[in-house]
């Protein structure tokens, strides 16, 4: 698996694949295939794809460690930036289609609807993470602080599921919320489990906590 992932074309291929959902949505909107309420369909699909990208990027480290596929680490930043990208489109489509790009209206909506507030908070964190995604930012912050900052992605996961949960709460329709919640909980749970394992393992060996850095 590693040689394949290290191939020169691997990154462009993943990049292209991550753009496919957007391509499909643009094409469907242009050819009137989004049903009776295309605005709602676009806003919701972009939200769904933000959640899916979030699941993907949080699956990178568990997969890499469990399968020993070290080359997976190459894709983590790109996938993380795609989470930000779809979240940005999700927010822009909400602001444009639902709120008519009216800042006062959006401010009122944030105050009115807790699930909008939670979504905005998650987006704020994503902006921070995207802005510090460059190598230069890592050097500037120092590895340790940068890693601490980027653990905020766990908070993004929790806020995103809460955002989705509240949005569906009005209709008591939680099947999909549980699905995403379970996936993200498993991915975060793996980290807790792995961390505990490393600690006991390294305590036994009395060695340094080197493995923690991999998280």
């Amino acid at each position: 698996m590693n040689p394949l992932l290290l191939h020169r074309a691997a990154k462009p291929v993943v990049f292209g694949l991550a753009l496919l959902p957007l391509a499909w949505l643009v094409w469907a909107a242009a050819t009137n295939q989004l049903g009776a309420n295309p605005a709602e369909a676009l806003i919701r699909s972009l939200g769904d794809w933000t959640l899916r990208m979030l699941c993907l990027v949080l699956a990178v480290t568990p997969l890499r460690v469990q399968t020993g596929t070290s080359a997976l680490a190459r894709f983590r930043r790109m996938l993380g930036l795609f989470v930000f990208f779809y979240a940005l489109l999700h927010l822009l489509s909400y602001a444009g289609f639902d709120m008519g790009l009216d800042a006062a209206e959006i401010a009122r909506d944030i105050a009115k609807r807790p699930f909008i507030l939670v979504g905005m908070l998650a987006f704020g964190l994503l902006v921070l993470l995207a802005a510090t995604s460059l190598d230069r930012a890592i050097r500037w912050l120092g590895g340790k602080r940068w890693r601490a900052l980027h653990r905020a992605v766990y908070a993004v996961a929790v806020l995103a599921v809460l955002h989705f949960y509240w949005m569906r709460a009005g209709k008591n329709d939680f099947a999909e919320v549980w699905a995403y919640g379970a996936i993200l909980a498993a991915l975060l749970g793996w980290r807790v489990w792995h961390h505990a394992l490393q600690r006991t393992g390294s305590a036994a060996r009395e060695g340094p906590l080197k493995a923690r850095r991999l998280l």
Partner: protein
């Protein structure tokens, strides 16, 4: 200028005062054309109105023609939503919670044969077969705005008659204050009965005076045909000044009661969905604004949403039903 006398007629002392025949004939021609043009424009508008009233049949289901209704407010001039949109974007949770689910899943409904049971505080309770209900009164076409509590709207040409026709025939007792409408809840025909989204069967209700209002429609068809299953076949309620969920679909029971019925959405989230649920741009849903709406199929992606009207634009007809009521309290 000399004043013409009745005896001498018009005096035209100078020939130049007389309008040449060619000129005045031309004027008459112009006037004739203008009159014809104006009438033509007026006729075009009239013809257009007629074209809206006689909505084109989609040709999918059995015809159910209705004569244009004479009830005040029963024929909006707005452009009807396309049949495709109106029959593919539905909330009918018995068939799934996604808007596209009902159109996909409702083929199992079997709207024929069908009976509606009338019970409770009436002199003449009993079971009505669908055929008898269809014949009970003349079918009318009514073009109503439909405003969903979720913030979207449509314009739908329904076919049916005032619910009052049925109510009068069953003779409610003096003690009857409310009318309850019960939707079918048959697991074999409705795949999502059993899901915990709502407390089945779906129950809706009106105050008796609301039920007797001529705009309250017992609908059997739309777009000149019988109702598609996903729109609540074979018989449903349409209350145009209330949020869409008040208009119960696929009705099997109509019950007259003394107490306010416990309605489905009110039971599920009492702080969000009141018994009245009149369309009201001033009273927001706890989780979103009700001031504006998106008209399905009309407003483009980048169009600003349109303003929602008080009582969905039927204030002139129904406002007096709520005079003196605090509509914030009784939302």
């Amino acid at each position: 200028m000399p004043i013409p006398s009745r005896h001498r007629g018009f005096l035209h002392p100078i020939p130049s005062d007389i309008t040449p025949r060619a000129v005045y004939e031309e004027r008459r021609e112009l006037l004739r054309l203008m009159a014809a043009g104006a009438a033509g424009a007026a006729l075009a508008a009239w013809a257009g109105r007629e074209a809206w009233a006689q909505v084109q049949r989609p040709g999918k289901l059995a015809a159910l023609p209705g004569t244009p209704s004479a009830v005040a407010g029963a024929a909006t001039m707005e452009k009807p939503t396309s049949y495709q949109d109106a029959s593919s974007y539905n909330n009918f949770y018995e068939f799934g919670t996604d808007k596209a689910d009902p159109a996909r899943n409702a083929h199992t409904l079997k709207p024929d044969p069908w009976t509606v049971e009338i019970e409770g505080l009436v002199k003449k309770p009993g079971k009505y077969a669908l055929e008898d209900l269809l014949r009970l009164s003349a079918q009318e076409e009514r073009i109503y705005r439909l405003r969903c509590v979720e913030g979207w709207s449509m314009v739908i040409p329904w076919v049916g008659y005032s619910l009052a026709e049925l109510v009068r025939r069953v003779e409610p007792l003096g003690s009857a204050k409310y009318v309850e409408f019960v939707t079918l809840a048959d697991k074999a025909r409705m795949p999502y009965i059993g899901s915990r989204v709502l407390d089945w069967p779906y129950v809706e209700g009106l105050r008796l005076d609301e039920a007797l209002h001529p705009l309250t429609l017992l609908a059997f068809g739309m777009y000149g045909e019988v109702l598609p299953n996903q729109n609540g076949a074979p018989v449903r309620l349409v209350v145009p000044w209330k949020y869409g969920f008040k208009s119960a679909k696929s009705i099997v029971k109509i019950r007259f009661t003394e107490k306010e019925p416990a309605t489905a959405w009110n039971k599920a989230a009492p702080q969000e969905y009141g018994f009245y649920s009149n369309v009201n741009p001033q009273v927001d849903h706890p989780r979103w604004s009700q001031a504006t709406e998106r008209r399905i199929g009309e407003d483009g992606l980048f169009a600003k949403k349109r303003k929602t009207l008080m009582f969905n634009g039927y204030e002139a007809q129904v406002g007096q039903l709520y005079s003196g009521m605090d509509l914030r309290k009784f939302f």
